[in-house]
């Protein structure tokens, strides 16, 4: 259990100590002594505060101390957390996009920051040029330390792939596509073994009949065809929502942009790899990883409920003591 605001518990502890002291301080009249010349003593309050050997009402004292401590514990926001491990290592395997691997690793790190003292990140990737994209550098800055890179396989450098010519419908009226009379919506598109589930608006239809279908809508209609090294894509890039940020969409887009023949097996240059590796220690403190998630406080309502019951009991005991 961790206290998010332990100062409140310290304050409650101090207040409880004060309550105990106050319960031992009683105002009693000193012993009465006869004195014929008492008339010459100035008038004043006859009650004198003294320290009692034991409190007058131990039950009331117990209730008040418990009430203060429970309220303090509630405001200290205790959370139940699992046991933390010293080091948690995250291994992200690049399946075609380092950005996607980084995003997945960051999500895992954000979840694991409360379960470990420090984190390490390793990326297993062929480190080809196709694995890097424009978002890689921005995403990389979100990881505070260095990244341990493990090259999965040596890239082929003998045959340079030919960049593909991709016609996106967003570019206008792409060759090989015709506008639908009535646009409809389809739930997913599948390409290169990756299914992107999203409400795609389908406004174009492929006109090209020859070529190889490289993507299909979920209802079986071709969504992209390739002829030679030229590709016609009838999938409109979604402009709303976070579809374009999903790993599946990134893989889909990577498959659409992949060069012909070589499929991105060209080794990335050393500067990009160094930038990805970064500087500093590989092991970073867990709290250095940004996390927007608010830890749950499951004990707060229970403690407040107990405090309420204690307050009611305190009132009952106090009134009963007053009537006796």
């Amino acid at each position: 259990m961790t206290l998010l605001a332990p100062l409140y518990l310290a304050v409650a502890l101090a207040a409880a100590v004060g309550a105990v002291i106050l319960h031992f301080i009683v105002t009693r009249q000193p012993p009465s002594q006869p004195l014929p010349t008492a008339r010459f003593v100035p008038e004043g309050d006859a009650a004198v505060p003294t320290m009692a050997r034991r409190p007058d009402d131990p039950l009331l004292l117990l209730l008040r101390v418990c009430l203060l401590l429970v309220i303090g514990a509630a405001f200290a926001r205790p959370v139940l957390r699992p046991a933390r491990v010293p080091v948690y290592r995250i291994v992200a395997v690049d399946s075609g996009s380092i950005s996607a691997a980084l995003v997945g690793a960051l999500r895992t790190a954000a979840w694991m920051r409360d379960h470990a003292d420090s984190l390490e990140l390793s990326i297993v990737s062929p480190l080809t040029t196709g694995a890097f994209d424009a978002a890689t550098d921005s995403i990389r800055t979100l990881w505070p330390g260095a990244i341990q890179l493990v090259r999965a396989a040596a890239p082929r450098t003998d045959s340079a792939p030919t960049p593909a010519v991709v016609h996106w419908p967003a570019d206008g009226h792409a060759p090989g596509t015709v506008a639908r009379a009535v646009p409809d919506t389809v739930g997913a598109v599948v390409a290169a073994g990756v299914a992107v589930v999203a409400p795609f608006e389908r406004r174009w239809r492929l006109d090209r009949t020859e070529g190889r279908v490289i993507a299909r809508w979920v209802d079986g209609e071709p969504a992209a065809v390739q002829q030679g090294c030229e590709r016609d894509v009838a999938v409109a890039v979604p402009t709303a929502g976070d579809v374009v940020l999903r790993l599946e969409y990134l893989r889909f887009e990577h498959a659409m942009r992949a060069p012909c023949g070589g499929t991105g097996t060209l080794a990335a240059d050393a500067s990009a790899i160094d930038a990805l590796r970064g500087h500093g220690p590989v092991r970073v403190a867990a709290h250095a990883v940004r996390s927007d998630a608010v830890p749950p406080v499951p004990l707060l309502p229970w403690l407040l409920g107990v405090a309420f019951l204690l307050a009611v009991a305190e009132i009952v005991v106090r009134r009963r003591g007053a009537t006796l």
Partner: protein
């Protein structure tokens, strides 16, 4: 308790006071022959002077031998000596029953009363006493007989100080027993519940002094009253149970100052009317206190 048993308690005191005489501060009024010089001059045994015979003088006072030798008529004048009746008024209110246990104030008051009575009786004066008790003044009429001291002692032994009897009643009764002028001794702590009582006491003493008598105020104070032994206490007046005050380190100095100022004021009040004032603490030797009073060195 018979007077013999009562006197036994004061035997040591009476032994210490044997031979002590109580000389009046001024000539006593005329009266039965006693040991004190009277304001009257006449046929006493102790010749003082001659005076020319005046018409109306008693011819028996003429010095016939001088008349025969010188042919001048002179009368012999001599000091007359008279008694000074003495009444003791003893306060028996609840405030005198202090401290508990021991009742040192009451015991000291009784010793002073018996001691002063014995000294006055030793001077040939008739002595009596009045104890101011709750049921009314308890009176022992002034006498010169031998057993009067024992009577006074046994009377005081039968009294338990309690209640709030006004001392003015006892003092008035004692004053009435002194025919014209005499000596009135008030033994009390003078803690009257009403300021008027205190003024009445002083006024009665002043009236006696103006009539040619003497008044002695013996103020008995307990040591515990002068210096309360408690650091923290709720003190209560035994005569006024509702009067309860906290005595602490903060109020002690004020108490001592107030009590001292009141004693000074009381002393000035008695002395202003011509009375003798003596402050006697409970831890003072009674015989020494009696000597202080009778020799006029009190206070």
């Amino acid at each position: 308790m018979d007077y013999g048993t009562a006197l036994a308690a004061y035997s040591a005191l009476l032994d210490d006071l044997r031979g002590v005489r109580w000389t009046p501060r001024r000539r006593v009024p005329g009266g039965p022959t006693g040991a004190h010089v009277s304001t009257r001059r006449g046929s006493g045994a102790e010749f003082t002077e001659y005076r020319a015979y005046r018409q109306g003088d008693d011819p028996r006072q003429l010095d016939w031998k001088l008349l025969a030798r010188t042919d001048r008529a002179y009368v012999r004048l001599a000091e007359e000596q008279a008694i000074l009746p003495t009444m003791l008024v003893v306060d028996a209110s609840a405030s005198m029953a202090y401290p508990v246990p021991g009742l040192a104030k009451w015991a000291q008051a009784c010793r002073l009363a018996v001691g002063l009575a014995a000294v006055a009786h030793g001077s040939g004066d008739p002595v009596g006493a009045v104890a101011g008790i709750a049921s009314g003044p308890l009176t022992v009429s002034p006498r010169t007989r031998r057993g009067i001291i024992g009577d006074i002692a046994s009377t005081l032994a039968s009294v338990a100080p309690e209640g709030t009897p006004p001392l003015t009643t006892a003092m008035t009764a004692a004053r009435a027993l002194l025919a014209r002028a005499g000596r009135l001794v008030v033994v009390s702590d003078f803690l009257a519940n009403r300021p008027a009582d205190e003024s009445a006491l002083i006024a009665t003493g002043g009236e006696l002094v103006r009539a040619g008598g003497e008044c002695v105020a013996v103020h008995v104070v307990a040591r515990e009253e002068l210096d309360p032994p408690w650091s923290q206490a709720l003190v209560a007046d035994p005569e006024q149970p509702a009067l309860r005050r906290p005595l602490s380190g903060a109020t002690r100095a004020a108490y001592v100052a107030r009590f001292s100022a009141w004693r000074d004021e009381l002393s000035r009040g008695w002395r202003a009317v011509g009375a003798t004032y003596a402050l006697i603490a409970t831890d003072e030797m009674s015989a020494r206190a009696v000597r202080r009073i009778t020799t006029g060195l009190a206070g």
